[in-house]
Symmetry: C2
Subunit: 319 residues, 2 copies
């Protein structure tokens, strides 16, 4: 095995540098990632996965920090993946505050890692899920996936998580009403952070109004939890709400259902990648490129060109 038995054993034992290397391999989409993921898969399924998202500046990092600390006191092993939507301008992380979290990083029971989205919006969901698998197999009890709620990333995190928390602040206000509505759809509960600021009561009221529009799913009622994460206020309540939601998911078998959906979706995606990989060989890419002139000069249509390309592909069903 190219990935190395030693290397895999190290991941499973929770060796920090092996875990970091494995996540880098996934992040860079190196070919050995499949091999690693296949090997560690049988050791997954134990970690509970929490997604945290919200607008920039809502205090997500602080909440994740303090939550990790909270669960450490209960002897949980905690892994954290912070997803940074990178800016194609600079190639760097958008928010660039990943130097934080030193307090939890010093604790050997917490593993922290940031992952950049590198502009490939589609691939982020897959990579986040794969990194969570690594942390799961490495023996973490809790995996926290954190992302700023811009673009597609919050949907990716919601797909990869068992419980999804949306963090807002009083001043989020109606200018980001639409964004909030988008975020609300994925929230299992809402945290209103910095709730000592003016407008908190009003914000809670308006969030609750939006939540009431959401059809209740299997008797779970998303609530608003208030916090002032900087002062470690509300952290216990957030942790309790995570546990409450987890118990709800377990009781209703929805946890298993979520995991099933995740795994089947991933399998389907792997097949689709394979199909496209087989189809789009050098020859067919060239054949597509060669159609550019005819397409631009309206001699043919994308629909006819696609059919013509596809006709070079003969599928024989196996008996």
């Amino acid at each position: 095995m190219k990935a190395g038995k030693d290397f895999l054993q190290k991941i499973l034992r929770g060796d920090r540098s092996a875990i970091a290397r494995a996540i880098s391999i996934i992040e860079d989409e190196r070919p050995e990632s499949i091999e690693i993921l296949r090997a560690i898969y049988p050791h997954t399924g134990r970690a509970y996965r929490v997604g945290i998202t919200g607008p920039p500046g809502a205090g997500k990092s602080t909440i994740v920090n303090k939550l990790a600390h909270h669960f450490r006191l209960q002897h949980y092993r905690v892994g954290i993946i912070a997803v940074d939507p990178t800016s194609p301008f600079t190639g760097g992380a958008l928010l660039g505050d990943r130097i934080r979290m030193t307090d939890v990083e010093l604790d050997s029971g917490v593993f922290f890692r940031s992952m950049a989205s590198r502009g490939s919006l589609g691939g982020l969901s897959k990579k986040t899920g794969e990194a969570a698998d690594i942390l799961d197999a490495a023996g973490n009890d809790l995996v926290i996936l954190e992302t700023v709620g811009v673009g597609q990333s919050e949907l990716d995190v919601a797909k990869a998580a068992d419980t999804t928390i949306v963090v807002l602040v009083p001043e989020s206000g109606d200018s980001i009403q639409a964004m909030k509505a988008g975020l609300m759809e994925i929230a299992d509960f809402i945290v209103l952070n910095k709730c000592d600021r003016p407008g908190a009561d009003q914000a809670v009221a308006s969030i609750e109004m939006v939540l009431r529009l959401k059809p209740m799913v299997d008797t779970w009622n998303p609530e608003v939890v208030r916090s002032i994460a900087n002062d470690t206020r509300g952290i216990d309540e957030i942790a309790s709400m995570i546990q409450k939601h987890r118990q709800f998911l377990e009781r209703t078998q929805l946890l298993e259902k979520k995991r099933e959906t995740r795994i089947l979706d991933r399998t389907r995606e792997l097949v689709n990648e394979k199909l496209q990989g087989v189809f789009w060989n050098e020859e067919r890419n060239a054949a597509l490129a060669a159609k550019a002139v005819a397409l631009l000069s309206l001699q043919t249509t994308p629909y006819d060109a696609a059919e013509e390309l596809y006709s070079t592909f003969r599928v024989v069903e196996k008996s």
Copy 2:
């Protein structure tokens, strides 16, 4: 032809109800949409496509209104597609202000239509482009695609447009810095609307700072245009900047390149849809579902399951 020769002729003649029906067919992904799109494709490629995006409340609708009016005075025929990210909560449009625009709608030279994204983030780009094709074939000189900059929709619009405009307001501030950065990447120029509000100079300065980080592409330098759309101030400048960008794209052959990329991407996507459609028949969907137990109980991995599913598919290259 099922779609009907009469119907197609009506679209090409710019008949408003035929156009509206065609876009509905595309929106609902009805099977005859392919037939319509294939038939009208040879009549496309004449309209210039402008995308307008930005946060909610930035005044995009007003700008689109006034721009349409501006170009009408120059005897352009204008088609407008406003993309509404729908809320899965309510099924309705998120911003719900589509009753506006009556002033331009009354003018028979302007066609206005809103399209809902219906939660299918992936499909929006395709549908927007297809609706733009209809408006193009129907004889419009200018097609404006408008969307609120949340989620994926702004990327979809940027892909479908020749010139992409991002509208911001002074108070957009740094709380949405990240969102702005995402929007900046797709902007050919920025409009700072409501620039009579406090903080406008500061906002222009900070936007220009971000723009300077953007590597200059083929000598095009995105600039900031100030407007107060409610008072019809800055509209001429926006229209001039669109023309300036268009001339730049034409001079550098980048316009053709953009169109080529768009058409080839669509052709590729059509092939991929076909591949997946052929592969995921009832039998294989059932075979995937049947693997759920083994996957959840860790008896197999998604990687092995995908290979096993794929192995039922035998491809014979045609000579």
